[in-house]
């Protein structure tokens, strides 16, 4: 399935969800939203729909009949993670595979994170009373199925129940979808994917740091534009439905340190890792460094089950730990510098952070080659 075809399906099913969610009686609206998500999944891969629907049913049964049961929660999470890992391993590690020769069920990487969130919050008894259609609408919200944002059930439920027609929100959503589409098609696909790639092709072919640098710049710009474009479309469709979905990006390349970068890049994933990996690990081990590294390892392996992404997670984890140590030592002294020096430091820190991120894949790929002896 081509990218344009998938984007067209996403827009069609999401638009149908918007239409039905405002036209149907209130009791049918959540079901209609879920049905459109199911329609999107089925038009990509029926297998994906069957797997995710089975998981949704089982997790709701666990919530309804075994609330707060340790065994049910652990079994649910372990099962979801095991299935995700099996599909990723079968697909050569990558979580991206809803195209030809379906490897990973469409949307499963993001679905698994939402499922774990739901099971854990159910275990902690943090979920308000809800029915199956509301949970289905949460898991099968069409615009967030392919690449998030990873929204939270309590926020979704609150918005779903309180949503009212608001022309300002609706027109804001339309504008967001237009900007997201322009990011994808005009900037990501045409300007970066074609024009910039051609302009940099000579430099990328050059041996040494020059080629690596050009390839890294192109990769990260393209990733940012595409990913934030899809997020804009998802958030825009959320607004058309009267839902406020979490923002995913906040000018990440302007971050002044690596900690700030992860508060600005794929925010919904970083906050998921903070809540469900970092905080539990910190409370068990009382070690901030260990909790940070564990979070980044999970974050890395979620992208791809491979040594490269394990190293990538470790690279960011170690970077975060080193930054914290530096900030504890030098932070107060930087605050005492004259204003001009502080400004220069901020610019330098932004550039350092940007290059730490730019080179993350180049460094970890080189490490992987050394470790594998290639």
């Amino acid at each position: 399935m081509s990218d344009q075809h998938f984007l067209l399906l996403l827009v069609m099913w999401s638009s149908l969800a918007v239409l039905l969610a405002w036209l149907l009686p209130a009791r049918l609206q959540a079901t209609a939203i879920a049905a459109c998500g199911a329609g999107l999944l089925a038009s990509v891969s029926v297998l994906s729909l069957l797997i995710l629907a089975a998981y949704t049913g089982l997790s709701f049964l666990a919530h309804r009949h075994a609330p707060g049961r340790h065994a049910a929660t652990v079994a649910g999470i372990a099962g979801a993670v095991a299935v995700l890992c099996c599909f990723m391993a079968a697909g050569g590690g990558s979580a991206g595979g809803i195209g030809e020769g379906v490897i990973l069920p469409a949307g499963m990487a993001f679905y698994t994170l939402r499922l774990i969130h739901y099971l854990l919050e159910s275990y902690k008894d943090n979920l308000r009373r809800h029915d199956f259609s509301e949970y289905l609408a949460y898991e099968f919200l069409p615009s967030t199925l392919p690449v998030g944002p990873i929204h939270r059930f309590d926020e979704f439920l609150r918005d779903l129940r309180r949503r009212r027609w608001d022309p300002v929100t609706f027109s804001g959503g339309m504008e967001r979808i237009l900007y997201g589409s322009a990011k994808l098609v005009v900037i990501g696909n045409y300007l970066v994917g074609q024009k910039l790639a051609i302009a940099l092709s000579g430099t990328m072919a050059a041996p040494g740091i020059e080629g690596v640098y050009a390839a890294a710049v192109l990769f990260w710009i393209k990733l940012y534009v595409l990913f934030s474009g899809y997020s804009d479309i998802a958030i825009g469709f959320g607004a058309l439905l009267g839902l406020r979905l979490r923002e995913n990006f906040d000018w990440p390349f302007l971050a002044r340190n690596i900690g700030e970068f992860w508060q600005r890049w794929h925010v919904s994933l970083a906050s998921w890792c903070r809540d469900y990996v970092f905080t539990p690990t910190l409370s068990f081990t009382r070690s901030h460094g260990l909790a940070v590294v564990a979070s980044m390892l999970v974050l890395g392996l979620w992208h791809e089950l491979s040594l490269r992404y394990l190293l990538w997670g470790a690279y960011h984890g170690v970077g975060l730990v080193l930054f914290r140590m530096f900030a504890d030592c030098a932070g107060p002294r930087i605050g005492l510098l004259p204003a001009a020096m502080r400004h220069a430091w901020r610019v330098l820190a932004t550039l350092l952070t940007l290059h730490f991120v730019l080179f993350s894949f180049a460094v970890t790929s080189a490490l992987e080659r050394i470790l594998l002896g290639n």
């Binding site: 081509s2 991206g96 069920p105 322009a182 005009v186 696909n189 990733l223």
Partner: protein, 45 residues
Amino acid sequence: MYDWLCSKLPRPWVNLLYGAWYASLMILILLLADKPAADFYYLHG
């Protein structure tokens, strides 16, 4: 942005500007939509 423009220009002019901006974006998207696609799957399944 809209409110700021409205403080500098008459509202109908601002609406016209916005309309032209949205229309030009839509035309660009339609013109470029058939170009070879960026790899969506590289973002995740």
